[in-house]
Amino acid sequence: SRQRRAENLKEVPATTPYNLSEYFKQFLFPQNECELHNFRLSFSQLKWDKWIIAPHRYSPQYCKGDCPRVVRHRYGSPVHTMVQNLIYEKLDSSVPKPSCVPAEYSPLSVLTIEPDGSIVYKEYEDMIATKCTCR
């Protein structure tokens, strides 16, 4: 690969550093790459704090960003994701590009007051996104 890179470099016309960085950009991951973003809400914003006693604040997080063309190991994506990307690029652009979505979650414990006045502590599955993937 070093020899190939040397050959590539010979082919590349002697250019200012700026174009060089432009040239390498196509090999980099997209700027706004798919990743986990913070989002924090309090149940009082939703006006649910009268029946949700705890927690006061809740960070569900979310996934946002572009999926790079070669997503294999970085996102734990199945091979299907690359196939879908190829379909989008080469065959039919109405097929959507792979999307940036949550891959793993963590649970949340909630303390609420029931309509009959009883109190319940409950642990809900999949309430906080902890990892993103491209699918």
Partner: protein, 300 residues
Amino acid sequence: SPRTRGRAAADRASGLLVAPEDSSELNPLLRLPKGVRRSYALLPPLLKVLADRGPQNWQSEAPRLRPDSRALRYMKRLYKMSATKEGIPKATKSHLYNTVRLFTPCSECKHRLRDLTKGDVHSVDLLFNLDRVTALEYLLKSVLLYSFDTSVPISPSLACMCHLSVKEQDSSGQVCPSVSHSIAFSLHLEVRKRKWVEIDVTSFLQPLIATKRRNIHMAVNFTCLMGDAQHNTKLENPLNMALVPPSLLLYLNDTSEQAYHRWNSLRHTRKNPGRPRQRISPWDDPMGDIGKETSQGKRA
């Protein structure tokens, strides 16, 4: 998968992630017909559960009874022991439950005070309505939770005899005088050290809760002597002044899809994110396999 697709569409349509005025940008397929309240029909079950009790439904439900302040204090304390500040469940060995319900007795119970001299100090008739317990919630432990009114001076330690009996309702719906079964046991209370006394009634209530009984009618008689049993002196202060009618605490394992199952989630999602998780069946003893090595390593 259909489930996540449903959820992703529901999140978009639910207005939780998209401000209401943006709903015009929603894919026309996702825009709800005028009559249907926004997003309710599309919410995944969990958000439906949460939204059900949201304020917009609050008024439409039957008037909400305010919870007992002592009970609320106890449950906040239980929350702090069970979850971190951010609300993440703590993974402690003893923490088998994923649901804890606290019921305060219905208001129509009667407080019957017997004469102090006869030694039968405190007797109370309790009726608990368990409508909120779902069909997928299985009982792990049940506790009668007594709290003491600390403003009433009371002997620092008490030796008590407690007599519990459950009343059957015959077909006519009247509470007949006969008692289905009862239990008596002694307990030693160190009052000064604690505000709460938990009386484990699991084996006593298990048959009733297992048959999904909606109402549990029980009578609790306390006969307490001051100091420890050796002195056997009569009680100075009426116990009932200090004993607040107990709450019923149910530690449950919710086997529904949206509840968190620590035994399964950790093992199955890490290895194969796509593989559907096997749920622990309510008849398996979640503690039964812990610590047992099998050929494939520790079983969930």
